[in-house]
């Protein structure tokens, strides 16, 4: 078997193992009162998680050997690596606090991240000159680890919120909590809809006249039926869906319309999935989960959330700012260039600085701190996804 095939199988194996481990972590809740059984289930769950992690490490190493460079050089590789670091961060924090529930919330996020990653081109690609340096590995891996530890803070914050937000009536808090859950559904939506249309091999092509005279028109491919088409685009595939509307002129990038289209599809699919869940549960998703969290000690969850930030913040600073600056100095002769990705790393850093300073004052612990942990994760995800896909810059190697 070829090395790259072994590599993808190991990743696949890791994915399945994380999935199984999630169910075992779920099982630790159901054994009410029976401490011993719960501990045993927890032990099985963490063991499976560790085996899964080792399998993913195997993927990482084999892919490194196969590609001749550390597999952190495109969106698929980086996002997968981020998922792996998320599991690592979880394992470390699990052994500090032995909080089984954290697995039930962190592993699904890691699963989502890895599944999301695999929607992007997975070929082994060569490195362009700007990426050919050891700083690629050093900067990207440390930054990913830092972000992953901060993401654990999000998982803990989410547990806190589901446990403590009063679900008896609909208000701002319950709305935003459902919104976070819907955002997770939309991610699932993206994975589902992309896989479905990839499965049936859907493809439609648009032709956009070039602005330059006598130049060939540009062709843009859509892998999902076009709800929104490119500005001035003309559908040239027979039988494909006509776009309902075209994007405005300022969305001028070749792929802008296609990306917006995918985004809309993800939101809609997420909405359908979320709606179905509501129909089955007949109450808000967070309200349905809440009864399972009665045994949770909110102080401990709050502490985990804060601790994850305390551990993750220095790692993030080192990886996403300091190593990034050293590399930028070497590659582009300036350590800082106000590139969108850089700015959003700074925004993330400033945000967690605010988080840490607010912890000093009373009243910014517990629930408010949990909300902040959620917002912090949203900023990280924005930098990871939106900045690459929407606000292109030097980092848009995807």
């Amino acid at each position: 078997m070829e090395l790259s095939t072994i590599s993808s199988n190991l990743l696949y194996g890791a994915f399945i193992l994380y999935l199984i481990a999630t169910f075992f972590f779920g099982g630790t809740i159901r054994t009410k009162g029976k401490e011993k059984a719960s501990t045993r289930t927890g032990n099985i769950a963490i063991t499976i998680t560790i085996i899964g992690f080792l399998s993913q490490v195997g993927y990482f190493i084999t892919r490194w050997i196969a590609s001749h460079h550390a597999p952190v050089s495109n969106l698929f590789e980086f996002t997968t690596f981020f998922g792996m670091m998320l599991v690592l961060a979880f394992i470390v924090i699990y052994f500090i606090y032995r909080l089984n529930l954290l697995g039930l919330f962190t592993l699904p996020v890691a699963l989502l991240v890895i599944a999301y990653a695999s929607m992007f081109p997975r070929e082994i690609s060569p490195l362009i000159p700007a990426l050919k340096t050891h700083w690629l590995y050093i900067h990207v891996t440390t930054a990913a680890l830092g972000e992953a530890i901060l993401a654990v803070s999000f998982a803990a914050g989410l547990i806190y919120l589901i446990k403590s937000v009063d679900q008896s009536k609909l208000n701002k808090k319950t709305f935003w909590l459902e919104f976070i859950i819907y955002a997770l559904y939309a991610t699932i939506g993206f994975i589902v809809i992309t896989s479905v249309f990839r499965g049936i091999g859907y493809d439609s092509t648009f032709q956009i006249p070039s602005e330059m005279e006598n130049a060939e028109p540009t062709k843009v491919e859509f892998t999902l039926p076009a709800i929104t088409g490119p500005h001035n685009g003309e559908l040239i595939t027979n039988g494909a869906m006509q776009p309902i509307f075209n994007v405005p002129e300022w969305m001028s990038g070749d792929k802008a319309a296609s990306k917006l289209n995918t985004f809309i599809w993800s939101l809609l699919t997420g909405l359908v999935l979320y709606g179905l869940t509501l129909l089955i549960l007949r109450k808000r998703v967070a309200a349905a989960i809440q009864p399972y969290l009665t045994k949770v000690n909110p102080d401990l969850v709050d502490e985990v959330s804060y601790r994850a930030v305390a551990i993750g913040f220095p790692v993030f600073t080192l990886g996403a700012l300091i190593f990034a600056m050293i590399w930028a100095q070497q590659a582009w002769n300036r350590f800082w260039g106000w590139d969108p990705k850089e700015v959003w790393a700074l925004v993330t850093w400033l945000f967690y600085a605010v988080f840490l300073h607010l912890r000093l004052s009373q009243g910014w612990q517990g629930e408010r701190s949990a909300w902040l942990a959620v917002i912090g994760f949203a900023i990280i995800m924005f930098n990871l996804i939106a900045v690459n896909l929407v606000i292109a810059g030097l980092h848009s190697y995807a």
Binding site: P126, P129, K132, T317, F335, W338, W344, H357, L360
Partner: protein, 544 residues
């Protein structure tokens, strides 16, 4: 200054909330930290006397109090955060690749939103006075807030005594009473504390066990790091500290390196671009996906020289070779304090053009003579055989027709074109005019006897290098290092204290940590294990 003498005999500075020695709440000052009779003590900065909480009369007091407030600091950070994010909505002027001036670029590309963006000055947000003012305010806040807290906190932790006031102990978050504890139990507790690597201090049978006090200095250390970093970025504006120049060097050319005071010269031996092999099975699929060519390497093979004679303007320099090597992306070449980066390039710039001249009526175009023009430095006239003399009437290095007029859009020979005057022996005063360029050959009068045609040309590559000297880098590096040390010191260690207070019957135990309560509780569990002392209670959990 009105000092406050506590009942334990310690003299505290004005504004103290909890006595530095025994921790007794000082009457009349409890509002400062918001302490209430029935609640746990607020242990911020150990209840030490902070200038900002004590004085609020003079102008200096008010400025000090403004910048020392965490609330203000958080607002400053939050505003900087929001401003920074706004700056990424549209590309900054410095980063957009468009040739359009900013006042047109934003409106043309982003419509009304772009126009507003430009009018608000967000196209150069990070260089705007108000953004710099925000960052500077954060800098001031860092200094003042740190001083306001560090000095009294340092004092309080230095003056603390093992013997604590009972109110102090009962109002700690972790507190427990062990009425039946014996002397042996107490000894066992002390041993347990030592085993957990606490430093144990004793005063009249009262125990203070402490570890990780240095973690308390973490925030102040990291703030110092940040200040050094910010000063480093300011120094960049000092001309001697920072040079940023760029240059083009053609293959074979030796040029003075700008910014080095005519001291260093560089020769471009060769410039080339390498691409990945399309058929390499490893990357085949990805290369195809990306359109067939993926660049592997941009490289200039350079030789560096130092001038050995007096650098007088106009004199030919005497050069001594000092270094030879490759400049690649990510691998700048360094000389003295300067670093040369591979930044850009131009492939196949024209080097020379060779023209031939023949009689226009000659169908075989039999060449009468040829002449070669150096496109960087064309000679004004060329004397050919048969007495023909050609002068360069006009030279367009990068020729383009604009509004019906021939012009050159740059001084680089990317698309050279010439207007030649041809003087023949028969007609020495009235030259024939001929226009020759790439794919163009015009005879404006239509009555020319001779025709000049392009016979051959040579090309070469040009490399674009950036030269930087940045003496602020070590300062920035130092700032970053100190920041990292401080932030790790403060985040990865905690300051834990456990007090054992002997009573007539048994002992009281209290514990405090600046963070990670879970950790100190685990320490305490291990310490009380095997003794008659019950585990302390977390009074924070009781209230719920």
């Amino acid at each position: 200054m009105k000092n406050i003498t506590c009942e334990c005999g310690h003299v505290n500075p004005e504004g103290t909330v909890l006595c530095e020695a025994c921790g007794k709440p000082i009457e009349g000052n409890q509002h400062i930290n918001g302490n209430q009779p029935n609640k746990l003590l607020n242990m911020r900065y150990d209840g030490s006397a902070r200038r900002s909480q004590t004085y609020n009369k003079t102008f200096v007091d008010k400025i000090w109090n403004f910048f020392s407030s965490v609330k203000v600091g958080v607002w400053l950070i939050a505003l900087t955060l929001i401003a920074s994010a706004i700056g990424t909505i549209f590309p900054q002027e410095a980063n957009n690749q468009s040739p359009l001036p900013a006042n047109q670029y934003y409106e043309q590309n982003y419509g009304i939103a772009g126009k507003i963006y430009y009018q608000l000055g967000f196209h150069d947000l990070y260089g705007s006075w108000w953004y710099m003012l925000l960052v500077a305010s954060i800098g001031i806040s860092l200094v003042i807030a740190s001083l306001d807290r560090f000095v009294p906190l340092y004092r309080a932790l230095k003056k603390q005594k093992p013997k604590r006031h009972e109110t102090f102990l009962t109002k700690q978050r972790l507190f427990g009473q062990a009425d039946q504890a014996t002397e042996e139990d107490k000894e066992a507790l002390v041993q347990g504390l030592k085993k957990q690597r606490y430093k144990v201090y004793e005063q009249d049978g009262h125990i203070l066990a402490e570890k990780g006090r240095f973690a308390r200095w973490g925030p102040y250390v990291n703030h110092i790091g940040l200040i050094i970093f910010l000063i480093g970025t300011l120094l960049r504006f000092v001309p001697a500290m920072y040079i940023d120049e760029s240059m083009w060097v053609r293959e074979g050319e030796t040029k003075q390196i700008p910014g080095t005071d005519r001291q260093y010269y560089i020769k471009n031996e060769d410039f080339f671009v390498e691409t990945y092999d399309k058929d390499d099975p490893r990357y085949q699929e990805a290369i195809e996906e990306q359109g067939g060519t993926v660049v592997k390497n941009y490289q200039t093979n350079a030789v560096l020289y130092e001038r050995t004679d007096e650098a007088l303007p106009g004199s030919e320099p005497e050069l001594k070779k000092i270094k030879e090597g490759a400049i690649q992306v990510n691998r700048p070449i360094k000389v003295d304090q300067f670093a040369l980066y591979q930044t850009t390039y131009q492939l196949d710039e024209f080097k020379t053009m060779t023209f031939k001249i023949h009689e226009k009526s000659d169908e075989d175009e039999k060449e009468l003579d040829t002449f070669t023009v150096d496109l960087v430095d064309p000679k004004p006239e060329y004397n050919l055989e048969n007495g023909i003399r050609i002068t360069v009437d006009n030279y367009f290095p990068e020729f383009e027709m604009q509004n019906g007029e021939p012009t050159s859009v740059s001084k680089y020979p990317k698309n050279p074109a010439f207007v030649f005057n041809i003087f023949t022996p028969d007609n020495p005063d009235k030259p024939e005019v001929s226009f020759v360029g790439i794919g163009a050959n015009l005879d404006p009068s239509g009555e020319n006897q001779y025709k000049v045609g392009l016979k051959d040309f040579e090309t070469r590559d040009v490399t674009g290098l950036t030269i930087t000297k940045d003496l602020t880098l070590p300062i920035l590096g130092l700032g970053g290092l100190i920041f990292m040390i401080g932030v790790i010191q403060g985040m990865y260690w905690n300051h834990r204290r456990i007090w054992i207070h002997p009573r007539e019957e048994g002992v009281w135990i209290a514990g405090h940590t600046n963070k990670n309560w879970f950790g100190i509780k685990r320490d305490l569990e291990k310490i009380v294990e095997g003794t008659n002392v019950p585990m302390v209670t977390d009074q924070n959990e009781l209230k719920e």
